[in-house]
């Protein structure tokens, strides 16, 4: 078994974990799985590509602009999703709304970056050799940043009053309201927060891989699979789910080829749904 596949799996796994975290963040106060989440990932890759890759601006500038745009995207996405949900009253509203939002953003990215693959120079252009495997600085940065963010969010949920309010809203929105928690603002905050982190994930990923601007949905699915395996609503679940998906993908792919990777993940998903539907770290009531 190749060490290279292991490290590649760790890298992709931590990024998937970050995407899974963003899904968890919006899921908690709304019980909605945001199918458009992957588009925020593309935003990160796109801004990096355009500012750092094409215009050769320094990466802190690219990062700052990306964060600002992600906030805007989060605000827009919240309205695109929540407004139809509130007005429609149909139980499918959120699925269709998030899908429509995903396709709209996907179209925007495809139009702007037609023919481009989004990638740009790594922050530090160095590669290390560990036990015969080539591990780049970018990969290490990505792993470290993702892990830090996930751990930070986990602590935020546990220790901060806002994090606790978030968990309380997830568990029982009515009770949260009567305690004075502004649940609607929490929802907006969740969308914005997840957009920022999603964009960051894309920003970390793109220097190592070629990102197709139309591929947002695929990242959403990877993130979703990771979240389900790890347990929706749990940052630890996001992390472990992401690592499992990343490693399975990478190792199965290295051993058996392209389609085996997808099948391996699908099997893992199936097993979890049968054996422990709430996910590895999920609680029965959270597992929808």
């Amino acid at each position: 078994m190749s060490l290279q596949a292991l490290f590649d799996g760790l890298f992709s796994g931590s990024v998937y974990g970050l995407v899974a975290l963003t899904l968890t963040i919006t899921y908690q106060p709304t019980r909605i799985m945001n199918f458009a989440q992957g588009e925020t990932f593309i935003l990160g890759a796109a801004v990096g590509f355009e500012l750092v890759g094409v215009r050769k601006l320094p990466w802190p500038v690219g990062l700052a602009v990306m964060l600002a745009l992600a906030v805007v995207m989060g605000l827009i996405m919240e309205r695109m999703v929540m407004l139809p949900v509130q007005l429609s009253g149909s139980r499918f509203a959120w699925i269709i709304a998030t899908l429509a939002a995903a396709l709209i953003f996907q179209a925007v990215f495809s139009i702007r970056y037609v023919g481009d693959t989004l990638t740009f120079f790594p922050i530090i252009d160095k590669t290390f050799s560990i036990g015969g495997a080539a591990v780049s600085a970018q990969q290490i940065i990505a792993i470290v940043v993702s892990l830090t963010i996930i751990v930070f969010y986990d602590q935020f949920l546990r220790r901060s009053i806002y994090g606790r309010a978030m968990r309380a809203t997830a568990h029982n929105p009515d009770t949260a309201i009567i305690l004075g928690v502004p649940t609607k603002r929490l929802v907006v905050g969740a969308f914005v927060g997840s957009a920022v982190l999603g964009a960051l994930a894309g920003f970390l990923w793109a220097p190592e891989n070629f990102v197709n601007p139309a591929n947002g949905l695929a990242f959403t699915i990877s993130g979703f699979t990771a979240a389900v395996i790890g347990g929706v609503g749990s940052p630890r679940g996001a992390l472990f789910g992401g690592l499992i998906v990343g490693l399975l993908n990478s190792i199965a792919g290295a051993l058996f080829g392209g389609i085996a990777a997808g099948i391996a993940v699908f099997i893992a998903l199936g097993l979890i749904l049968i054996l422990k539907p709430a996910g590895l770290f999920g609680k029965p009531m959270d597992g929808h």
Partner: protein, 239 residues
Amino acid sequence: MLLEIKDLTVAYGGAKALDNLNIGIEEGEFVVLLGSNGAGKTTTLRSISGLIKPAQGEIIFGGKDLLKTQSFRRSELGIAHVPEGRQIFPDHTVAENLQLGGFTARKDVSKTNLALEEIFHLFPRLAERRDQKGGTLSGGEAQMLAVGRALMGQPRLLMLDEPSLGLAPRLVIEMFGYLKRLHKEKGLTILLVEQQARLALQISQRGYVLERGVVAISGASASLKDDPAVVAAYLGHAG
């Protein structure tokens, strides 16, 4: 008057849960809301705390028009609601549940801590369990926690929805005991919805008996206690 409910009507589909309800509570009163299931007691409390939007009517609290106030802002005004079934957050500890009760004062950490200590003083049993998860508490302790959580915001009005539900008789007495103390010592205005009608009438000053969304009888608790009409509201009219 601290709380005024005027001609309140709440409708579900074609049915009227509340039908031109009129209730008034003065500051410092201990008022009880009785009635069988479906009479509208829970609907009344939920309308006051904003979880239900009425079709018609007015709710005035401390001079403010509640129906123009967003639901999450009502606890800031001083309305505390202990909901049916307590609704403790099972994954948060006792201390964390209480801190959430003080959410509106979250920016003033010292104020919150002071309030926390006061609650622990009031309910020593909660202090013993401060780091225990809410889901591990017994029924009586959970009830205490729910009340304590509601008190964290220094409310002007404390509303409780069937707090005796599922509690052993001994614990019911204990709970009614501390409610009475809160009323006496802190002058807290209490609106209590209860099924344990007799007990509730013993510790309260005034009562309303609801039937099908309207007030059927009201008056001083002392006189309602022996009123056969109260029995009839639950068990029907004889003959």
